[in-house]
Symmetry: C2
């Protein structure tokens, strides 16, 4: 069974996000003066195979915790749904 996984890995709230700050300033120059809380992170899409949703979640969390995200400066959310292959 295949699952489509969509992961967002974002800088922790309250941490300096220089990329977000740069985009906020660029938006102001475009006339979008009122953007707040601009934060820029990563989006990861993948399709994984697993026998069931629980196994799929275990795989995704293993990948996140050993490879994809840094808990000191980032947080993540992900969604997972069955995928027709």
């Amino acid at each position: 069974m295949n699952f489509a996984v969509e992961i967002d890995i974002m800088p922790l709230k309250g941490l300096l996000d220089p990329q977000g700050r740069t985009v906020k300033e660029a938006l102001q120059k475009l006339g979008i003066e009122d953007a707040q809380d601009v934060r820029i992170g990563k989006h990861i899409h993948m399709i994984i195979a697993a026998d069931n949703e629980e196994e799929a979640r275990r795989k995704v969390e293993k990948a996140l915790e050993t490879l994809l995200y840094n808990p000191v400066v980032e947080e993540y959310v992900y969604t997972l749904k069955p995928h027709q292959s």
Copy 2:
């Protein structure tokens, strides 16, 4: 009125995504051999002010088209919802 905007900017399907390829290979070394279609892009979060949803969408699309994404190599999706400030 404030809107929370969540934007995903991803490499176009079919284009080489070297970052995605690297992650796919690293996942294989972790024992997650079956990841397919691994693609890595950007996730942007922001809060913007607008009189209504239509104006909010105009602002987001202006930001995307003049600043945030490159239509030659990327595609985007975004969601927007009212945000309590």
